[in-house]
């Protein structure tokens, strides 16, 4: 049956239901586009034949192919759109700089989309109140205390806190830090929030 390649793209994402971004399947997309091209050309020639030679019996076949073309378009668009939703999530989870391993999974146009999204979001957040705006990608959970106990899961180097003090985030070291300074590092898996 037609459109098997296209639905394979969809399955590929559906299997990773937690939102991870698999490598961009350029080859899969290319194959779908090739099938579409073939279907379209066959239909073009059958439409001509039906018109010039009055072969109305071709109409069901033309319709069959047309349905397949629409299906291919839908699967491809849904594949790409779902990837955007995943890429969007990365901005919220990782911050505006993505690890190289993830960037490798994106095609050039996706990187471009991500950069634009980043820019739009930054413009929006800057527009909120005061001079600095408001970073709404922080404060994801309601605060319970000002300072929290954190353990360092990997070497991260020097880190400046509010009052200008600089501390060294060394693997396995434990610190008592202002919560709002740590949030992103915790999300990125550099620090771990310790609750006794």
């Amino acid at each position: 049956m037609f459109c098997e390649k296209a639905v394979e793209l969809v399955r590929e994402l559906h299997r990773m239901s937690d939102g991870q971004l698999p490598a961009f399947n350029e080859d899969g997309i290319r194959q779908v586009l090739e099938e579409m091209k073939a279907l379209y050309e066959q239909n073009q020639s059958d439409v001509n034949e039906a018109k010039t030679e009055g072969k109305t019996e071709l109409i069901p076949t033309i319709k069959f192919r047309h349905c397949s073309l629409l299906r291919n378009q839908r699967c491809t668009a849904a594949y790409l759109y779902d990837r955007l939703l995943r890429i969007r999530a990365l901005r919220w989870e990782y911050g505006s700089v993505l690890p190289t391993t993830i960037r490798f999974h994106m095609c050039a146009e996706e990187l471009e989309w991500f950069n634009q999204y980043k820019k739009s979001l930054a413009t929006y957040m800057r527009s909120l109140g005061g001079e600095e705006g408001l970073d709404i990608t922080q404060d994801m959970k309601p605060p319970k205390s000002l300072y929290i106990e954190v353990r360092c899961l990997k070497d991260h180097g020097e880190f400046e806190i509010d009052d200008g003090t600089v501390i060294l985030l060394k693997k396995n070291s434990q610190h008592f830090l202002p919560r709002w300074k740590c949030e992103q590092l915790i999300r990125q898996g550099v620090l771990e929030h310790v609750i006794s």
Binding site: K37, A77, L128, I136, P142
Partner: protein, 225 residues
């Protein structure tokens, strides 16, 4: 929360408080919390509350400034710091909910904005409007560049209004009644049922379809919880 807040504004001294604004800081935060919960639980994007957001942002800046003046190590300072953090959380969470819905429903949100009559209030703040427009353009450019432009001529575009789902207004929401309502028409759920009317007593809580009470959320007569 309210106590520490009014104290915070006391610290600032009376002369700096805005003359036109009749809201006390505590009322301001109560308004923010209402807007936050409504936005969090309603399936569709609600009317924007730019003014409220601005006021809260000013309040936060204000409190931050006051905090600078408080002696270090003062117990008061950490109470106020906590207060600031909590307000900032509610504000961020509120704006986040809105942005999430804008991203989820962008073609519909923009369509609604386009068809809005001149005098009607806008659902989007100017900044949200700009964001939504960029989001749409960015997404369309992307789909076109990666795949659509390589497709047969009649398939090179996707109607985003049809492709992106609309908010589901039939979903159920919990609500608390702030102002008594009479004769609310409830649609039947099954073929055997008939439609019926209910009165909503002040202070009572209900589980209903959002569509039924959407106007009451907008007017502030009920609070989503």
């Amino acid at each position: 929360m309210a106590d520490a807040l009014s104290e915070a504004s006391d610290l600032s001294g009376g002369e700096e408080s805005q003359e036109e604004d009749v809201l006390t800081p505590a009322e301001l935060i109560a308004r923010l919390e209402e807007a936050w919960l409504n936005e969090k639980f309603s399936p569709e994007l609600l009317e924007n509350k730019s003014e409220l957001v601005e006021c809260v942002m000013e309040q936060l800046t204000h409190m931050e400034e006051n905090l600078q003046r408080v002696r270090k190590g003062d117990l008061k300072a950490s109470v106020h710091r906590m207060e600031i953090d909590r307000i900032r959380f509610v504000l961020s969470s509120y704006l986040r909910s809105r942005l999430q819905k804008i991203e989820k429903f962008f073609p519909h949100v923009l369509e609604k904005e386009k068809s809005r009559a001149d005098g009607d209030p806008s659902f989007l703040s100017p900044e949200e409007f700009a964001f939504a427009k960029e989001y749409l353009a960015n997404t369309e450019v992307y789909l076109k560049a990666v795949a659509l432009k390589h497709m047969p001529p009649n398939l090179q575009s996707v109607d985003m209004l049809k492709a992106v789902p609309e908010p589901c207004l039939d979903s159920f929401v919990f609500l608390r009644v702030k102002e008594r309502q009479e004769n609310i028409l409830v649609e039947p759920e099954t073929d055997e049922q008939r439609e019926y009317v209910v009165d909503l007593e002040e202070g009572s809580q209900h589980l209903m379809r959002y569509r039924t009470i959407a106007p009451l959320v907008a007017s502030g007569a009920v609070q989503l919880i």
